[in-house]
Amino acid sequence: MEILHNVTINHYLGLSTVLFALGVFGMLFRKNAIIIFMCVELMLNAVNLALVSFSKMHGDTDGQIFVFFIMVVAAAEVAVGLAILMMLYRNRHTTDTDTLNDLKG
């Protein structure tokens, strides 16, 4: 496969870094729980991208297997997390994280 002649691993790591930082930024910047959730997904994908590029660099499958497991965890997390969000919205009629501070001392 004569692919990616001049693209180095650093390019992918750079992209992964930017996406990860974007995810962190979104988590801090927004207060809608759903958007925050999406930013988590963005961060997970940034990591996935890094793992796949490592896998490509080493020429083995382990990195891609890890991506599978991350996908599994992400899917499970989304299922439960969105169910929690639904319940929250039903009870509080908001998904604003700033107002959900009942447990704060």
Binding site: M1, L4, N10, H11, F25, K31, N45, K56, A83, D98
Partner: protein, 170 residues
């Protein structure tokens, strides 16, 4: 050369739609932008010859997870809830924090060796057969545990989203 252009194009799409996820007022636009990001990441997987992973990525992320997001947003009708009253200080601190993190990470990446991807690859790592062998020989236990995790998540999600638990139990 073509693949290089493809890399840069996909990267720009990923980053810009990632920014749009955070900055759009309407959550539905956020979801659609996130889907765009996922598509471009899937494109990257294709470029790296991880075809199976790319397909699974689209099926799982774009086909299932983001649909769930869209469902929740549409069903809860969250479109017009967005009244961001977060103070500018907090917003600024978010920018600073994320910027610092990015600086640190990119600093770490900068110092790494420049390794061209093509050198060490056989190109077959992303093929279904190799992935299957690795998954079912070396990672069988985590695989089975993942299915248990899924089951637990499914039960949990169903239990949580029941409308009124007391009524259904009675």
């Amino acid at each position: 050369m073509l693949t290089e252009y493809a890399f840069w194009f996909l990267s720009f799409v990923a980053v810009f739609s990632g920014i749009a996820v955070i900055l759009s007022k309407n959550p539905v636009y956020s979801v659609l932008n996130l889907i765009m990001t996922f598509f471009s990441i899937a494109g990257h997987y294709f470029l790296m010859n991880a075809q199976f992973l790319a397909a699974v990525h689209i099926i799982v992320y774009a086909g299932a997870i983001m649909v769930l997001f869209l469902y929740v947003i549409m069903m809860l009708n969250l479109n017009n809830l967005e009244t961001e009253k977060r103070s500018n200080v907090l917003k600024l601190s978010a920018v600073v924090a994320a910027g610092l993190l990015m600086t640190v990470l990119s600093g770490a990446v900068q110092t790494a060796d420049q390794i061209t991807l093509v050198e060490k690859t056989t190109g077959a790592a992303g093929m279904v057969e190799n992935l299957g062998i690795a998954l079912y020989r070396n990672y069988l236990l985590p695989f089975e545990l993942a299915s248990v995790l899924f089951l637990a998540a499914m039960v949990g999600a169903v239990y949580l989203s029941k409308k009124n638990l007391n009524e259904t139990q009675a």
